[in-house]
């Protein structure tokens, strides 16, 4: 679990990210350590999704500083991306391909073995009769599970999840929570943005509030302290 001395997985200091001319993140400071499940809580438009995309290396940091796994978000975005798995509002799936084709494709991007791909599909409950079904024929929840299986096959070390429970039934939510706990036990770190506070709150090891592009309220271990 977390330790204030080791290199933080995420270390943002007064980070500003701009969408067009709008500062969607307006000086966010956040630290997350290995093994944490951090819940980002906040209203729509607070900057949660932007925070996740910034940590994924998809958005440039306009001001302030930020590091993920000790790599600078200003200069090393390309190196950060392979270490990170982002599941946003979209699933990143190909509708005409089957569940198996999709998970296999995402696994293959990092050279995952067949058994790793099979294990990822089994873990998310899409390895049985669903494996040969085209993604366009799946329900929203089944698509979400397939996307999560792809993430699992990619062996991401930092999971950035935006409303991951959306569209999942009760069993799917339980499986997702179990998967995230297992991933954390295996050394991953999870940052999750959710409006389902009861469910995600039970899962989280720490909750932080995001509002008006800033991280507020909850304690931020090591912020202002140890640097990567």
């Amino acid at each position: 679990m977390s330790s204030g001395d080791e290199t933080p997985v995420i270390c943002l200091r007064d980070a500003v990210a701009v969408l067009g001319s709008f500062p969607a993140l307006a000086g966010a400071t956040l630290r997350a350590d290995t093994g944490e499940i951090v819940l980002l809580r906040g209203p729509n438009g607070a900057g949660k999704t932007t925070l996740l995309r910034l940590c994924a290396g998809l958005l440039p940091i306009a001001r302030g500083s930020g590091k993920v796994f000790g790599l600078d978000l200003a200069t090393d975005r390309e190196s950060i991306r392979p270490l990170v798995g982002l599941l946003g509002h979209q699933n990143g799936l190909y509708a005409d391909l089957t569940v198996s084709d999709n998970v296999r494709f995402w696994g293959a991007t990092i050279g995952a073995t067949d058994s790793e791909v099979e294990s990822a599909m089994a873990c998310m409950g899409v390895g049985g009769r669903l494996r040969n079904v085209a993604v366009r024929q799946l329900s929203a929840g089944q698509k979400r599970r397939t996307a999560l299986a792809g993430l699992l096959a990619r062996r991401a070390r930092l999971w950035l999840l935006d409303e991951p429970h959306a569209g999942l039934d009760a069993a799917g939510r339980d499986e997702l929570d179990d998967t995230l706990r297992a991933a954390v036990q295996a050394g991953a770190t999870v940052l999750v943005a959710s409006h389902e506070l009861e469910r995600a709150g039970q899962l989280a090891t720490r909750i932080v509030d995001v509002d008006a592009g800033q991280v507020r309220g909850a304690p931020q271990p090591g912020a202002g302290g140890g640097e990567a």
Partner: protein, 228 residues
């Protein structure tokens, strides 16, 4: 993973999507065929004129079809955020570019062969034995050039609103040199208006230089383009 393994992965995935969806087979090929017939009507079905302009008409139909193939190739990436997901996964953008280029190129090559066949049937064009090598070389080099330009601008337009109209605006002027070179080379290969086979090779060299320039430039520029 190496650029070539990523390229192979992306190309195989794109061709697999086409094999399952049959959009190119059921929509683009008929569109190209209808275009050839409409040209014949527009030129008053005059066999002499049609024979004379057949090479140009084949490449015009190819160019219009290219736009549809490229639109389709990037629509499947944008539909559920797969291109974004590839960026987050740290998949090498040069590999993505080369893979998309190969996928588009294979589809384009099949289309060109069928359009040449249509020119023989509809316009009374004949293929002479001594021009076959020139014809095949022209098809290959022109296809590489068209696919290189299409992939580059397809990736660029994918991130913009109104991409359907932006793509032709960007692509058509850029492929004009391929259009001219390929038409002249095919005229030489087929002996249209008594053109000699030897005349075609200098146009093939123009096509080859164009393909290499756009291929290399595209591979280098694709990452920053889709990132911004």
């Amino acid at each position: 993973m190496s650029i070539w393994r990523i390229a192979r992965l992306v190309a195989v995935k794109d061709l697999q999507i086409e094999r399952r969806s049959r959009v190119i087979t059921n929509q683009v090929l008929p569109f190209a065929g209808v275009t050839m017939v409409i040209f014949a009507f527009a030129l008053d079905a005059n066999t002499q004129i049609l024979e004379r302009v057949a090479p140009g008409l084949v490449w015009l139909a190819t160019m219009f079809s290219l736009l549809l193939i490229v639109q389709r190739s990037f629509a499947v990436e944008a539909a559920d955020g797969a291109l974004d997901a590839m960026r987050v996964a740290g998949v090498d953008s040069r590999g993505i570019y080369v893979g998309k280029l190969l996928g588009i190129g294979v589809q384009l090559l099949v289309l060109e062969v069928l359009l040449l066949f249509a020119a023989v049937v509809l316009y009374g064009e004949t293929v002479r034995v001594e021009g076959v090598v020139l014809l095949v070389t022209t098809l290959l080099s022109a296809t590489c050039g068209l696919a290189a330009v299409g992939t580059l601008y397809g990736g660029l337009a994918a991130g913009f609103k109104g991409r359907e109209t932006l793509l032709p605006l960007l692509t058509l002027p850029a492929v004009a040199p391929v259009m001219i070179g390929a038409t002249r080379a095919v005229e030489a290969a087929l002996g249209t208006a008594d053109a000699a086979v030897a005349d075609g090779w200098r146009w093939v060299s123009v096509l080859a230089v164009f393909a290499v320039a756009f291929g290399v430039g595209g591979a280098l520029a694709f990452g920053p383009l889709i990132d911004e």
